[in-house]
Structure formats: structure tokens, C-alpha cells
Amino acid sequence: MVLGLGGRFLGKASGWIAVAAEGLALLAGVWIALTEASASTVYHDRSFVWFSLPDGTNLVMGTLVSPLGALMLIVVNVVGFLVVLYSIEYMGHEEGLPRYYAELMLFLTAMNGVVLADNYVEFILFWELVGLCSYLLIGFFWKRPSAASAAKKAFLVTRVGDVMFFVGVFIFFTAFATQTVNPAFASSVSVYPGASCPGHLTPTWACSGFVFAPPNTDSNVPFLAASALSGAANQTLMTLGGIMILGGAAGKSAQFPLHTWLPDAMEGPTTVSALIHAATMVAAGVFLLAITSMYLGFTPDAALVILGIGGFTALFAGTMGLVANDIKRVIAYSTMSQLGYMTMAVGAASFLVVGPGAGMYHLFTHAFFKALLFLSAGSVIHALNTQDLFEMGGLLKAMPVTGYTMLIGALALSGVPPFSGFFSKDALLSLTWTAAQKDPVALPFFLMAATGVFLTALYTFRLWFLTFSGSKGRSEAAHHAHEPSWIMRAPLVTLAALSVVAGFFPLIGGFNHWLPGLSYGIFGFTQTSKGWVFAAADLELAIASLALAFAGIAVAFALWGNGRVFHLADDSVWKAPQKVLVRKYYFDEAYDGLAHGVILGAARVFDWVDRYVIDGTIHGFEQVFSMASLRARRAQTGLVSSYAMWIVFGLVLLLIFVLYGIPYLGTLWGG
């Protein structure tokens, strides 16, 4: 918690202050993470009562350094540090730098807050701040209408997800309140580290992962008592809760159908894309699902939905990546696709009631190689001032460092050993395969994900070949390209190194519990408590995915390698699908139609009703009254005596009524 605050002390201008602050944050983050790894108990502090009601509703803010959080802490701060360093040169010539760094640091603060949050309300708080920073940074080039529009879209689409997330958290509140006698339970939904394995219903992995537990008691009794699981209504509610949480995660992590904002978000500076829209913020959705995964373990239906959404997105985004011509958009689609893999893995893990380690593992490796890809792309854009792939080419000679680091990133993304992406992708594919064996509903999604492996390799290398291969560039700018200075190269090299070694991370002893439920394996050999165990199925799976990846690379080489240029649109067979893909399956049009046609239309209709029906009714009354009073005015003569005459007439009538009328009425009513 403390570490992120460093970013707040940001002076004017200089990015170096930001670098120094984030450097400190990095050191603090690593130190906290290492402390976590070595400590037997988890650091947990709930001292700050944010909002408290006597009826037991307490919203407490606290700090929780959980194993998953420690992993995220390292990811966020390492990538954050490198990106801020990279920004010094990359953003050096832009206007409004203090604003840029301030927003970036606010983002890092909020992201650390998300990682260290100890309950869902606090999580939402920082989560929304992260969204705000994303909004601000996408709109950094505010004079461009497209940037302003993209920023709005990002905020709105994630807002839809957030709203679902709210409902999910409300359902949690309900679950707490109904499951416990003590009203203090309703207070806060906490992710609480489990030190022991209580309760017959708690899955065993919870010991190394999380259990939900009341914050104010010492026992680790999970809130999901037996009664929560019996009864169809409760089960339905819990499933809905899981799906609502997925909604929140899908908004942030750009999963189908809330994915439309991510490609547009590339309007922001490339550094922002690398940090926020590849490595950290979008991963927050997966992180959310991971910390919720024990809950999801009780709702297999929701887990399957998550698996399905993830698997579908993995393929769906890959297809769109195939036709994008903007270098950043290609990487953006690959981000969506990889996030789909992670989501799928967490869903599969929840379905199988194991820890969410596989998905987190992929998140971990992906953060490095995706940041690497973005920063390399940024380097290219910096040199060429264009983002169009078809204006590049042959850059390998001019920019060898960029080219080779990007190659490492591309190989890691495609899942080629020994680069990190291979291990994590293998782990999650095998997990999903297990899930598919348990329930055939998951099988189509597994196949989609497998197809996605081929597509990933295909579009990644399409990108790389179009950019770097060949003898000469396809545009004037490409001929004059040159490497950036060491400030930009250093992060590239560092990230490349990390992309290579990150895959071996789970082999380091002492960090196993950071990735609960992960069965780490290489070519069929899986590390278990009994040492390395061989399984033929895993080997087959690994070989199959490797073959798919190589096939993808080969096809890419055939079509785009060595400076060849091939447009899908030129081919008669691919023309129609290409058009659909370029238009992103018409999702933007559909949503625009919904927004403009339906909602705005309804707003217009409401406005008309408000102006003419409601206000019109009021004015109608007014007119009736003024007409009536005009009539009545004619009776006024202005002569005092005639007024008096009328008064006396009234008096006489009143007297007659009192004298004769009331007794008469009395006889009528029998009184």
C-alpha cells in the first residue's frame, strides 16, 4: 500500500522523478513479495475503517499481501518501471508530460491498490481508479477526436462490466448475511489467506490459495456453509454471482462481448498500451477471477461459462488479429486472445476445483513478452512515425536490437520452447483438456483454444515478417530508420531476458504457493510432490500445440516472409471473410446502433414526452384557469355596494343552509 504512494509525490515535468519513484516502488514491491514468500504467515492489516454502520455493515480498507498478490506485485512494478524508463525517450517530444507522468503514476498506485486490496469493495475502488487512468491515458492525445472517442468507449464498456461486478459483490454480501448469524459477517467480503484447511467442503488447494473468511474471527470457517450449496435457489444465485463477477472481469480484460474497447484503446501512447492494455490493467480482470476462483469452485456452471467465454475470445480475437494492418492493433488483438486463454484457464481450474495457478502463470509470462512486443513496436513507430505494417519491412538490418528482441517476444507469444509462453500455454491447455474430459461441454472451447494457438503463431509472425524481414523497406521512412538510444533499448533487452527465463519461474523453490493448483510440466513430465511424473497425454498435447505453432509460423513465412506482401483482400476466396474481420464482426456497428438508435432514441422520446405531455398538461391547467378567471372578471363591477350585495346573498344562503339544511340532512341520515 505504501509503495504506490511514492508516485503521488510527483513534481512538475521531469519523468526522471517518476522513474525514481517507480524504482522505489519496484524495490518496495519486490521486497514485500519476497517477504511474503519467506514468511510463514501472510501480512494482513485491516486497520482502516472506511465506512461503518451500527447494523453491521462495515467497509474496511486494509492491506493483504496474498500469494497471488505478491506475484502481481512483481509483474506490475517490473513492467511499470521499465515502461516509465522507456517513456523518457519515447514520450520526450510530446506536450503535457507532467500530466502523462502524473496519470501513469496514479495508475501504478491504483494498480498496486488493486493487488493489495483485502476485500471486494476496496478492490472496486482501486479497480475504478485504474479504469479512470486508462480513460485519461487513452485520451492523452485529446485533440484527436478518435482518441477522445476511444477513451469514452473504453470507459463506457468497462462501466457496463463494472456494473455487473457491483451486482456480483452485492450477491456476496447477501451470501455472507444469510450464511452467518453474526451480522458482522455482512460487513465485508474478504479474500483471506487460509492457514489451515478447515471444513469438509473446502477444497484442498485452498490451503495454499484462499478461503473466504470472516475478518473479525480467528477461525477460518469458510462462509460457504453446507446450506449454501443445498437448494436450487441459492445455487442459482451463486451461479449468477459468478457470472456477474465474470462480467466485471470481461469488461476490464476485454473478453467477448465487452471486447470492443481494447483495439480502439490503441489511440493512447504506445507506452500506455504496453503497460495498461497489455501487461497489467487488462490482467486485473483475470486476477479478479483468480482471487474469486474458490467461490467459483462451488458454482460449476459459472466456471463453465467463464471457460467458454475465454476459449471463444481466444479464437475470436485471433481471427481479427489476422487482418489488422496497424502494428499496435495486431498486438492488441493478440492481447485479447491471450487474455481469453487466461480466463479460460481460470474457468477450467474453478471447474476442476483446483487453484487458479495456470491462468496466473500465463498472466505472469504474458506480461513480460507482451510488454516487450509493445515496446518493440513502439520503437519501430518511434523510428518510422507510422503504424501501418505495409509501410515497414526490412528493418532488421537498421534496428537489430529491436528486431531480435521482438523476435523473442513473438516466439514466446507463439509458444515455442524454451521461451516462457510455451510453458504457460502448455499448462493451461492441459488443464482445459482435463476439464473437457470431465465435461464434454468444454470440448469445443478447448478446440477453439487449440485453433487459437495456430492463429497466434500466424498473426504474430505475419507482424514480424512484415516489419523486419526482406531486404528493403516499403516506404521512405523505413529506409532511414535507426535504433533508439539505450534508454529505450535497455527495457527491451531486460524484457527479452525476462521473457526467456520467466517460464522456468515455478521451478524456483519457495515460490510454488504463488501459483496454486499449477501442475508445471515439460513435454509430459510434470512436477508433483513426488518428483517428476510422466504422462503420455501431456506429451501428446505439448507436441500437438508445438506443431500447431510451427505450422502457423510456416504459413506466415510462406505468405509474408522475406519481404513478400500478401493481402487477404486480394484473394477471391478470402475476400468476404476478410471484410467481416476488418469490420470486427460488426460489433462496433451493432453497439453504435444500440447506443444511438435505441438508447438515444428512447432519450429523445422521453424528452418529447417531458416537454409536451407533462409540461403540456401543466400548461393546460394554467390555460383553463386563466380562461375561467377572465370570465369571472366580467362579474366584477368595481362597485363596493354590489360586492356587498353578493356577500349578503352568500350570507343568506349560508343562514338558510344552517337553519334548514342541516336539520334536514340530519333527518335524512337519521341523526
Binding site: 461503518s52 454502520l53 451500527p54 469493495v121 475504478e128 485520451g139 477526436p145 470507459f155 457491483f166 407533462i614
Partner: protein
């Protein structure tokens, strides 16, 4: 001992002096409002020293006694006191009047009258929130309306006469209905005095009423009338059309006080009078109240979406927010009442800020028409930044004051009504949509409709806005600073109503 009377004295004497202070009027108004602010902050500071369930700083002086037809008598007292519900409003009123005075520091048109009316509004508002006697309450209630009528009618925009008249007719009809039904409650309930709390018997200040004296059917009728009386002020659909007109035509300071405080009087009246006094009435009319609340929420959100005038947009978003307040009040649990008070507090700050912004936009660019301004960030970064903060606060971003309020209101809605929560959530998304649309059109994009001569905010306007922004952020990050006061009082409304909460006993 005489704290609240001193507060009222400062406010009213200050207002009176302001009218005759001529060129020094703004200084007098500033000193007056700062004085009330200082006193309300002192109340905030000392309130927690005693029993938070009590009415505090109570003064009660017998005034006169009526004979009633059945041989009893009815005392009229000067009774003032504050509790955890009125305290935030007291503070809010003082802070908004300080901000208004600072914002209008350079007001030239009949300055003494303007500042005097602002100070008088503040004084009346303070009176409304401290009075615990029906007659006193009504007197202050009416005092607030009069300066607002003149503020709109004299300093307003081109259609000010229409707007002020509409405002006055609506609110006045509502207050007459309110008074009549309140008196009906008093007489039918056979109250010993017009005080609406029974200070002698109950330290929790549970309302005076012995509901058994009034037949449930009668209660329903009376509740309907009271609900109408307060609801028009709130405002609720379909009696809301005075609000956009009044806001659009009112001068900036008038809008700030109108949205910031006058709407809150409606909510305060519902919490303080309508709901606790007539439990059977509430039960009987609950569906109607809920339908109106949902209608206000959705209606306000959709209408905001179709507005071109920035001020109108903010006005309709007020309807939306007050709809959520109404919903929270209608649920009538401790959490929801707390949320309602907190949301009103938040909305007071945020809408005040937004109306100041629209005023500044108007005199900087000469128009409030959203489509005709673009890229104002290029000339007026400070205005743009504050505009963004205000909009984000209004759409409920965390770390800004609306978030804890909206979150707890929605939580209460979920707990009470379940999936009906979809409607307010939909409205939440739409709220985000129209604010973001406004920012996108006005703040970003290539500069257009932004003259080179446009200057950024003058110091006094900036100061007023920074004051509000800092409070919005402060209470957003540390909401317990204000939440602390509310729920202890909110618990009695909950338990009095026979809700699930256990009624606290006096310690």
C-alpha cells in the same frame, strides 16, 4: 447553551446587514457565511462527544398555547436541536453559501441585494434543518422560497420571469399541501405540542406521534399529501418540470443553492417527517413511492442524455440522483437512510460544483450549448480539469464523494429489492454515458467555438470550485468523516418503523 440560536442569529442578522451594506455587501455576506460555517464545523467537532442518539444542542422555549376543540391544549414552542441527520445538511448549507459568495465575488448587478438574498437563503436553510417544531419548520421553509424566487426572477436568464413563477407556484402549492397535512397529523394525532420530537420522554428523539390515534386509511391519505409536498421539492417525476426551467434561468449561485440545498429540503422532510410520522401510510403507499423513485431515476438519466444545454443536462441528472435518494429513503432501512443522507450530501457538493462549472463555461465561451464548444482544453485547462473532476464525481467514481453513497444505496436496494437493482444500474451506465459524451464533445477534440480571447477561470471562481473539489476528494477518500454522524440517527428511523433493526436503548 444557546449555540443554535446564536447560529440562527448570526445568519439572519448577517443577511439583514448585507441588504443595507451597499458596496461592502460581499464582505458582510462572506463573513456571515464563514461564521455559520465555523459554527457548523464546531458542531461537527463537538457532536461526537455526547450520546450520538440524542438530539443535541436542544433549546426549547414555550411560546404560546392553543385551546383545542376537544378541551385539550396544543403548545407551540421554539424548539431547535440537531442530530446526525441534520448536521451534515447544516454543514453543507454553510459551505455552499461560502462557495456561492466567493464565486459571485465580482457580481455587479444589485450586488447588495444579491448577496443579501444568498445570505437569507442560507439563514432559512439553517433554520429548516435545526427546527424541531412544525410551525417553526414551516416558517423557515417558506423563508427559503422567497429569496430563491427573487434570485431567479431578478438575476436570472432571459426566461427568468416564467421560470421563477413556475418555481414559486410549484413549490408553494407543495408547501401549502405539506402544511395542511402536517397540521392534520398534529390534530388527529392529538399531539400535546407542535414539536415533532418528544424530547421529554425519549432521548432518542423518536417522533411524537402515537400512530394508533390515526386510522391506517387516514394515514395513507396524509402520507400521500406529505409525500407530494416534499416530493415536488425533491423533485419527483412527474412534478419535476419546474426544476430544469428554474435551473437554466437561475443565476449560477441560485442554481448552486437550488440544487445543492433546496432539493435536499425535500429529502430531509421525507426522512424527518413523512416516513417516521406515518408508518402505516408508508406501508400503504410503498409501491407508489417505489414506482415514482424508479421512474425518476430512469427518466432523469434518459432525459440528461438528450440535452444539449449543459446546465439542463446537469439539472436532469439531479433528478436522476434525487430519484436514487428517494429510492433509498423508501427502502427505509438503516443502511438505506444513511445512504440517502450521504448521497444528498454528496450531490450537494457535486451538483454545486457542476452548476458553477456551467456558469463559468457560459461566461467564458458565451454559450452552454454542448455541440458548439469543442477542445476547450486548449484555452482553459483549469476549467477543463475541474469539469472532468465534477463529471466523474457525478457519475460515481470511487475516491470521490458520490461513490460510497451510491454504493451503499445500491447495496441497500439489492438487499431489499433484489433484481430491481437493474434499473438504477442501467441509469448508472447512462449517467456515465452522458457525462463522458459531454467531456468528449466539450473538453477534447480540435478546438472549435473557443475564442482566443477566452480566459481561464478568474481567481475567485477557481477558489470557490477548488473549495468544493477538495471537499469532494476529502470525503471520497475518507467517507467516515461524514458517515460517522448519520447512522446512529438513522437507526431510530429504522427501528421506529418496525424494521429489522433492534431499537437502541438510551445509554
Amino acid at each position: 447553551m444557546y449555540d443554535l440560536s446564536i447560529l440562527l442569529l448570526i445568519a439572519f442578522a448577517g443577511a439583514a446587514i448585507t441588504f443595507f451594506a451597499g458596496a461592502k455587501a460581499r464582505w458582510v455576506a462572506l463573513v456571515t457565511s464563514v461564521g455559520t460555517l465555523a459554527m457548523s464545523m464546531w458542531f461537527l467537532g463537538t457532536f461526537l462527544n455526547g450520546n450520538p442518539l440524542d438530539y443535541r444542542f436542544v433549546e426549547s422555549y414555550h411560546w404560546l398555547t392553543f385551546a383545542t376543540t376537544n378541551g385539550g391544549s396544543l403548545a407551540v414552542n421554539y424548539t431547535v436541536g440537531i442530530d446526525g441527520i441534520s448536521l451534515p445538511f447544516l454543514f453543507l448549507s454553510a459551505i455552499l453559501s461560502v462557495a456561492t459568495v466567493i464565486y459571485h465575488w465580482e457580481e455587479r448587478k444589485d450586488a447588495a441585494g444579491f448577496f443579501g438574498l444568498v445570505a437569507l437563503t442560507n439563514a432559512g436553510l439553517l433554520g429548516v434543518f435545526v427546527s424541531l417544531d412544525v410551525l417553526l419548520f414551516f416558517v423557515f421553509w417558506e423563508i427559503v422560497l422567497i429569496p430563491m424566487f427573487f434570485l431567479i426572477g431578478h438575476w436570472g436568464g432571459p426566461r427568468r420571469h416564467y421560470a421563477s413563477l413556475k418555481f414559486f407556484v410549484y413549490t408553494h402549492v407543495a408547501s401549502v399541501v405539506m402544511l395542511v397535512s402536517l397540521l392534520a397529523v398534529v390534530f388527529l394525532g392529538q399531539w400535546p405540542s407542535l414539536d415533532f420530537v418528544n424530547l421529554a420522554n425519549n432521548s432518542q428523539g423518536v417522533a411524537n406521534l402515537d400512530a394508533a390515534n390515526i386510522l391506517p386509511a387516514t394515514q395513507v391519505v396524509l402520507f400521500g399529501a406529505l409525500f407530494f409536498g416534499f416530493g415536488v421539492k425533491l423533485p419527483m417525476v412527474p412534478f419535476h418540470t419546474w426544476l430544469p426551467d428554474a435551473h437554466v434561468e437561475a443565476p449560477t449561485g441560485g442554481s448552486v443553492l437550488l440544487a445543492g440545498m433546496l432539493l435536499k429540503m425535500g429529502g430531509y422532510g421525507l426522512i424527518r417527517l413523512a416516513f417516521p410520522l406515518l408508518p402505516a401510510g408508508h406501508v400503504g403507499l410503498e409501491p407508489v413511492v417505489l414506482v415514482i423513485a424508479f421512474a425518476s431515476i430512469v427518466w432523469g438519466a434518459f432525459l440528461s442524455l438528450s440535452q444539449r444545454d449543459m446546465k439542463r443536462l446537469v439539472a436532469y441528472s439531479s433528478i436522476n440522483h434525487m430519484g436514487i435518494v428517494l429510492l433509498a429513503i423508501a427502502l427505509w432501512t438503516q443502511l438505506s437512510v444513511t445512504a440517502a443522507v450521504l448521497l444528498m450530501f454528496a450531490h450537494g457538493l457535486v451538483s454545486g460544483l457542476l452548476f458553477m462549472l456551467s456558469g463559468s463555461v457560459h461566461h467564458t465561451f458565451g454559450t452552454r450549448d454542448i455541440p458548439s464548444i469543442s477542445g476547450m482544453n486548449s484555452r482553459t485547462p483549469a476549467l477543463t480539469t475541474i469539469l472532468m473532476i465534477g463529471s466523474l464525481a457525478s457519475l460515481g467514481l470511487p475516491a470521490l464523494v458520490s461513490f460510497p453513497a451510491e454504493f451503499s444505496a445500491l447495496l441497500a436496494t439489492w438487499e431489499a429489492l433484489g433484481w430491481w437493482i437493474i434499473l438504477p444500474l442501467l441509469a448508472l451506465v447512462i449517467t456515465a454515458a452522458f457525462y463522458l459524451w459531454m467531456i468528449q464533445r466539450m473538453a477534447f477534440g480540435p478546438p472549435r467555438g473557443v475564442p482566443d480571447t477566452a480566459h481561464d477561470l478568474p481567481t475567485h471562481e477557481l477558489l470557490a470550485m477548488v473549495l468544493l473539489v477538495s471537499l469532494i476528494v476529502l470525503y471520497g477518500i475518507l467517507p467516515f468523516l461524514i458517515v460517522t454522524y448519520i447512522p446512529h440517527t438513522a437507526i431510530f428511523v429504522g427501528c421506529h418503523y418496525g424494521g429489522p433493526g433492534v431499537c437502541p436503548t438510551s445509554p
